[in-house]
Amino acid sequence: MIPLEELKALLAGQHYVVDDATATAMQLTLHLGRPLLLEGEAGVGKTEIAKALASALNTKLIRLQCYEGLDANTAIYEWNYQRQLLAIKVHEHTGESTEEIESHIFSEDYLLRRPLLEAISQDAPPVLLIDEIDRADMEFEAYLLEVLSDFQISIPELGTLTAKARPHVILTSNGTRELSDALRRRCLYNFVDYPDPDREVAILQARMPEIDAVLAGQIARFVRSLRKEDLEKVPGVAETLDWAAALLAMKITDLPADMQKLQATLICLLKTERDLKSVTSEVSDRLAGAAA
């Protein structure tokens, strides 16, 4: 098993600051070869984990974005119909038998590989990111179960294709739909929470080396207390980074110094009309004062 500190250092090299719990979960995923299910609010950095892992391991990242109505054709494979039609026409005059033509046009040359098939046909184990699995429907989840347990895909015309190298699978979910127990059972589980201020400072510094340490601390504390307000959409790490970039660009170096400017930049953090209205200048004044 890869040591914890080494893994953390590898991820830090990709500008991803990870906490011990998540790092341990990734360690186990690599060790046991089981998929890792990451759950948590939108914007806590679930997708980034997969990206960071792929570049840390220096391997390919294959991403499957789920949505309602996602079907086998878009997730696994599809035949290249245009090429098949052409091939049939070409072979028409060669006098080949039907069976011969059929075995020709249903060969791997005519197969369009979609993410899942792509992931199991790599020579080196890639990172397979199945993003927002809760958006896909039950039918797809059931199919995914089969793929994730055996890492093989059956294509009626070709037979069964088995993975040459087992991909490292990472699934993410926002909890818009409850996942089936069967899928949960098959995965390791990690609940990703909003980072504590210390880690958020570390994230800010990793992503924006030019940021001042004092300002980074203020930002982290401000965002933390903002998350405790009654908001419709709680700002995630991505929002914090956006906001920090905005503050840097507007040359704000101390939060409480210029409240009017600060109020204007809040659109980076608050993404609904109701939230924007509920965080009045008095509220942000109080938060900035506490953060300073």
């Binding site: 719990a21 186990l28 060790h31 119909y81 909890g175 739909r177 059972r185 609940f191």
Partner: protein, 396 residues
Amino acid sequence: MMTGHASANPEAIVTRQLVGFIDHLRGNDFAVGPKEAQDSLAVLEAIGPCPSRRAAQALRPLLACCQHDWERFDALFEAYWFTSGTVRQSLKPESQAQNTPGTRPNIWSKHLGEQTGPPLEGPQAGSSAGASSDNEAQTPVLASDETPLRAADLRALVTPEEMAAAEKVAFKLARALRYRLSRRFRNKASGRRLNLRRTIRASVSKGGSPATLVYRARHNEPVRIVVLLDVSGSMKSYARFYLQFVRGLLGTWIEADAYLFHTRLVRVTDALREHDTMKAMTRLALMAEGFGGGTKLAECLTTFNKHHAKRALNSRSVVIILSDGYDKDEPEHLAKALARLKTRVRRLVWLNPMLGWDDYEPVTRSMKAAMPYIDHFAEANTLDSLAAIEPDLARL
């Protein structure tokens, strides 16, 4: 020598302790299979012995499989490895108690039946409706001869046949709400899009001329139904019938979810899905502690929005609220909660038993506040009136 054999082998001790721990987790509703047990051994081998902070950290992703498990894992770990016995008891969830067999019918009738001895007197909803309806429940409301059952006020329904009829109506209503077009395509002769894969396959034997065309079309997908049932004092006499109605919905519907509320909100889907009616009702009775008390409609809806809506609702959802609209909370709260709820669902249906009464107008302040957010508002105090809303629901 013989007795000391097992404990002399350190590996066996680790295994035995770990098995004990996994058993302890299972007792607390963790879904842990043999594969996980095997993997935990492998993990401990690599990480070091239990108990340690590191071991807890490593076992957690392996043995927990949802947020709920994730959050209580540390406490359970500590309880097992550091204190034996005492803490364990207190950590067991309530569901353990709900499974206890025994005096089921009694418990059930105590909560819902009209022939109760001392009723559970909670604070009554802000009107005299609760008290008066209790008395009325003893005497069936007038019913005409040819349809004695369907026209009777639901408060008078008691026999199994009547309950079965209630389930039937529930099924009909559910069917009316049933389908919405899905984004998935299936093969269909009347479809308008070509299924190229099948068509090409079929054309091979015809020299590549697509003589046989295979079509596909979007197919119908069931909507998700979420029922919020008011079981407070003022609804007491209807609660039993409505529960049966909700059970009917859940029984026929895969994508249905049910909640009870009075002063608190309780999810009852799993309890209602129980095949054994008596068992279902018993579990329910235990869950719905405080039946017949007051209503905190707005607060319960807010709870629903906060904790359940994200998971329970999707763009294909219809929410049915069964309540008389008597609420102890401020009407503004209710309006706010409903507005929030409305953004998440496709349709909001409110069924109000009081609306069927001759002299009733939806004049309670809460009801007035709620009206703008409701897609369909209907009476529901007889089976007839319930059946009558079917075409309306079909149109929604």
